[in-house]
């Protein structure tokens, strides 16, 4: 099936070329970082994780959200999702690829990466994260590929695949839960030290992931003969709506606990993000943008008229995606480090090399995604 990735329209090649250029730039910037050290980033002694780990966290969510098409289709027999499960699975593959790359570029000593396997440390959540992420990548490649292969041959998927599909459902939940545990179990990091963090992660994932899937389905509809179908899109948009509402609700819970209890250390992180702390507030405009986008998304999604219209739905999905990207891909990880253990505010903003590397990794993810989607769509076009 792989050969289908090699032939395509002019546009397809141009897209791949464009992505390759971005990947090359990212790679060059990474070589620079590798040679000079993480000093080229905006990271500091106090904000020791930043943009890379934040992207990683966000993308784990996108990857996990594949479950939102797989679960209804296989467990509840929601037929309309049949056509797009493959899109969800391949999106998961691309996202996990990006996650792993973001972890690697964040390491101070990437050449020692294998130490995680050579000296397995089950007490570290990072160890478990490595296992669940790689397992999830493997599951989605195997499942996606075999389902597609069967579709091409016009046969039923091999029977050994079923158990794997069922395993992949809780597995998807596990990747985002374990990722939340990276944060939620650290003493003294008050913004993260909430038992609701994992639930919040999942809720926001079920908003941002399906939103991206809807957007991708529209792109496919425009440029290929593949149409996800109105009904599937509508169902997905409902998932996005509920994901969004629950996310906002959970965030509200955090605000309540912090501000009604009036415990300063629990308020600092939230204050820093939304109004600034001790006169520092570099993230404040972003967080308000998040609030605005989230509000716009909810308004557009809650009204069935705007939700069902392609144009407004697209806008709503863009709003959701960027809102959640800001909230998780920026605010949550960085905000957790501010103030530092001495309650001093040391701010962080990514630097240019950091941004170029980040763009390079996103481009890599989209490169993988483009190729996988190209294969999937060609097979589907052929069958039809």
């Amino acid at each position: 099936m792989l050969e289908r990735a090699l032939t395509g329209s002019q546009q397809y090649y141009r897209l791949l070329m464009g992505l390759l250029i971005l990947m090359g730039m990212g790679f060059a910037a990474y070589l620079y970082q590798l040679n000079t050290g993480l000093t080229v980033t905006g990271l500091s002694r106090d904000v020791s994780w930043g943009f890379y780990i934040a992207q990683f966290t966000f993308l784990v969510g996108v990857a996990a959200s594949a479950v939102m098409v797989v679960l209804p289709y296989y467990l509840h027999n929601v037929k309309v999702f049949g056509r797009i499960t493959i899109l969800g699975e391949f999106l998961a593959v691309a996202s996990v690829t990006m996650c792993l790359l973001f972890i690697i570029v964040d390491l101070g000593k990437p050449m020692r990466l294998l130490n995680v396997i050579l000296y397995p440390s089950p007490n570290s959540i990072l160890f478990w994260d490595m296992i669940v992420l790689n397992g999830y990548l493997f599951l989605n490649i195997v499942i996606g590929w075999n389902v597609l292969e069967a579709e091409r041959k016009g046969t039923a998927a091999p029977s050994w695949l079923k158990p794997l599909i069922y395993v992949s459902i809780p597995w998807a939940i596990s990747i985002h839960t374990v990722t939340a545990f990276l944060y939620a179990g650290l003493p003294g990091r008050h913004l993260w030290l909430h038992s609701i963090l994992a639930a919040r992660f999942l809720a926001s994932a079920f908003a941002s992931g399906p939103a991206l899937l809807i957007l991708l389905a529209f792109v496919l509809k425009k440029y290929t003969k593949f149409d996800a179908g109105k009904e599937a899109i509508d169902k997905l948009s409902q998932v996005v709506l509920y994901g969004m509402l629950v996310s906002i609700f959970f965030l509200g819970l955090e605000f309540f606990t912090a501000f009604y209890s009036n415990i300063p250390s629990h308020q600092h992180g939230l204050k820093y993000l939304f109004v600034g702390l001790d006169g520092h507030g570099k993230l404040v405009p972003f967080m308000w943008l998040f609030a605005l986008l989230a509000l716009a998304a909810v308004v557009l999604l809650i009204n069935p008229n705007t939700r069902k219209q392609e144009k407004t739905l697209k806008i709503a999905c863009l709003c959701v995606f960027f809102a959640m990207w800001i909230e998780k891909g920026l605010g949550l990880v960085i905000g957790g480090f501010i103030p530092n253990p001495f309650e001093q505010v040391r701010e962080y903003l990514p630097t240019v090399p950091e941004l170029i590397i980040t763009i390079g990794i996103w481009a890599t993810g989209f490169f993988v995604l483009t190729i996988l989607y190209k294969i999937a769509v060609s097979v589907k076009e052929e069958v039809e």
């Binding site: 050290g37 993480l38 000593k109 130490n115 000296y119 440390s121 001495f342 001093q344």
Partner: protein, 261 residues
């Protein structure tokens, strides 16, 4: 020596055969590596601990006394990067207000708010940095209670920095060697770019029967070092006579650095 070299070559040859030979290498290695024996003069404790008497420090020392910091940073080849963003520090000063923000009262005696406090790694009894490390590059030495680091194993993921609630860890964002401004101490390794480091309670000095460099350097006896599990130790004596506090005891980390204020 000769036999060591031969077995080393042997192991090398087997390694060259590929990873399939790993069990054989292991079996050979077990024989070839000599047991580490301790120096007879080594100082021992179940859990080393430090009492920092800030009263003595504030009252007796000159205002700009930094003897302990200089001694430590010189001994351990700690670089002076010169920026707040990347600075590397093993023992340093923070204000009373910032260090004990959770217990500072508003109207304190003699207004100590802005007085300096010496801070360092607490060599916690249940250290979160050890719990989160994915490679065991940070580990708690069961024999001495010291939280140690293996600079050759650390992958620089900085999970431990997120895990430590005391800000005790520094990361080598760049090659530190050009920034070592003190005379190079050949007895302690300089670090590489990309690894985390922190106070080691001078493990290697204890092994040679010496107290930590900072303790030795303080001319006013403000730093007391000893075994917290031994009721007759110097630290226990000081603690029995003075009211002391610890940093963030509510987190359950069990810090082993005590403060007399």
């Amino acid at each position: 020596m000769e036999s060591n070299r031969r077995s080393f070559l042997k192991i090398g040859g087997i390694c060259a055969l590929g990873l399939g030979a790993l069990p054989v290498t292991k079996a050979l290695a077990r024989k070839a590596v000599p047991q580490v024996s301790e120096f007879p003069e080594a100082l021992k404790a179940n859990q080393w601990a430090m009492v920092v008497d800030m009263k003595k420090c504030w009252e007796k020392a000159e205002e700009d006394c930094k003897d302990c910091i200089l001694a430590c940073h010189q001994y351990h080849n700690v670089p002076d990067i010169g920026t707040l963003k990347e600075e590397i520090k093993w023992i340093w000063q923070e204000s009373y207000h910032d260090t004990f923000h959770d217990q500072a009262t508003q109207f304190n005696i003699e207004n100590i708010e802005h007085n300096p406090i010496m801070v360092l790694c607490n060599h916690c009894t249940s250290p979160p940095c050890v719990r989160v490390c994915p490679t065991k590059a940070t580990f708690k030495d069961k024999k001495s209670g010291i939280v140690k680091m293996d600079y050759h194993r650390c992958i620089g993921c900085r999970f431990c920095m997120a895990g430590c609630p005391y800000g005790a860890r520094s990361f080598n964002f760049r090659d530190p060697i050009p920034y070592i401004k003190t005379e190079l101490n050949m007895e302690y390794p300089a670090r590489e770019r990309g690894v985390v480091e922190k106070c080691s309670f001078c493990t290697e000095r204890l092994a040679r029967g010496l107290f930590p460099a900072c303790v030795e350097a303080c001319r006013h006896g403000a730093l007391t070092f000893g075994d917290i599990t031994d009721p007759n130790s110097s630290v226990r004596k000081v603690l029995a006579e003075n009211y002391s506090i610890k940093r963030k005891p509510e987190l359950g980390t069990g810090p082993n650095v005590y403060y007399i204020i």
